[in-house]
């Protein structure tokens, strides 16, 4: 059974080719807090680069995507069992923080490090 499943999966994956630049990857993106409508309380920084993840998650997931085993299984379920179960999505894997300087409603000034503000890498899950 394992052999037949493996053969089916391999055959399908050969058809599942995607140009490398369309595959799941990290894309740089910079925003200003003015664009977000937060510039009247965020003093610094003026800009920040949250980045985003975008692209196709192939049926055979690349090792550098750090996908959990569940993503591999979900791919197989979609392909072999039930196509209504979606394939894994390209989403951020690791995040890094940024430091922000804010002015609060009562006039206090706040320096704060916020976790999870910038996507550093992507995964399929």
């Amino acid at each position: 059974q394992a052999g037949s499943i493996s053969a089916e999966a391999t055959a399908s994956s050969l058809k599942d080719s995607e140009p490398e630049n369309n595959q799941c990857s990290l894309h740089p993106f910079q925003v200003s807090f003015r664009q977000l409508g937060w510039d009247h309380w965020i003093i610094a920084p003026s800009f920040y680069t949250p980045n985003y993840c975008k692209g196709t998650c192939l049926r055979v997931l690349r090792g550098d995507l750090n996908s959990p085993n569940h993503a591999i299984v979900q791919n197989l379920v979609n392909q072999l069992v039930d196509s209504s179960v979606p394939r894994p999505s390209c989403v951020p894997y690791k995040y890094v923080p940024i430091s922000v300087l804010l002015i609060e409603a009562n006039g206090s000034i706040l320096y704060k490090e916020y976790e999870g503000m910038i996507a550093e890498s992507c995964t399929c899950r």
Binding site: L36, G37, W38, H40, W41, I43, A44, P45, F47, Y48, T49, V96, P97, I98, S99, V100, L101, L102, I103, E104, A105, N106, G107, S108, I109, L110, Y111, K112, E113, Y114, E115, G116, M117, I118
Partner: protein, 242 residues
């Protein structure tokens, strides 16, 4: 503004700590960042530049020792009757109730050590003040203060961590931390009116250093009821989003 789409917060999405805090603490659209750089804003900008790069990435060699620093300006300023050559103001700093989200690691007061009023020099210092125990004597030394690294020689910084932690930090209600700002003049020439005209915003500010607790980190993973509360509160940000 002008039809430009703003932030959409779907009802079922967990509220990010940043967004929730900003919704709670936002000064409102009509408020604008101060145009003139007072000492307090200058201090925090220097602190920010030392702790993060231009993109907002925390510097690896930062020495701030905390993940959050709040600069609190005095809310109240009461000038006391002059005692000899001593001029005294009681400064009141509002302290937020402790909800267990952050651990206070350090509290200091940065104050004007040398004050100039129309050419007359005054030497000043700060000490904690308690209404029920007025001191009859006036201190003669300024032990415990040092020059803050981000300010000129006219300023000094005094550690009051123990005082704040013992008296205020475990209190669930908002309290006022009162400090006595005392200045000594050499010549008996500075009138009370001149002294009263001294803006409390320019003579002292409080610095509170915090680290995240397990609760504050965990809060990011909770599914608020946060979202329903925000929708019900009709916050200005969401009103604008609609």
């Amino acid at each position: 503004e002008g039809g430009q789409s703003s932030i959409f917060l779907p009802a079922e999405a967990p509220t990010l700590p940043l967004i929730q805090e900003l919704l709670e603490e936002s000064p409102g659209e009509q408020s604008r960042k101060p145009r003139l750089l007072g000492h307090s804003l200058r201090y925090m900008l220097e602190l920010y530049q030392r702790s993060a790069d231009s993109h907002g990435h925390p510097r690896e060699n930062r020495t701030i020792g905390a993940t959050m620093v709040r600069l609190v300006k005095p809310l109240t300023n009461v000038a006391k009757p002059r005692r000899g050559t001593w001029h005294i103001q009681i400064l009141g700093f509002p302290l937020r109730p402790n909800r267990g989200l952050y651990q206070l690691v350090r509290a200091t007061v940065v104050y004007r050590h040398h004050l100039q009023l129309t050419g007359f020099n005054l030497s000043c210092h700060v000490e904690p003040w308690a209404q029920k125990s007025p001191t009859k004597h006036l201190p003669s030394s300024e032990g415990g203060s040092s020059k803050p690294s981000l300010m000129s020689n006219a300023w000094k910084e005094m550690d009051i961590t123990q005082h704040v932690q013992q008296r205020f930090w475990n209190n669930k209600r908002q309290r006022i931390l009162r400090l006595r700002f005392m200045c000594w003049q050499q010549k008996d020439s500075v009138g009370l009116e001149l002294w009263r005209g001294t803006s409390s915003l320019d003579i002292a500010f409080l610095l509170l250093y915090f680290n995240d607790t397990h609760k504050s980190i965990q809060k990011a993973k909770l599914l608020p009821m946060g979202m329903e509360e925000i929708m019900e509160r009709e916050s200005p940000l969401l009103r604008r989003t609609r």
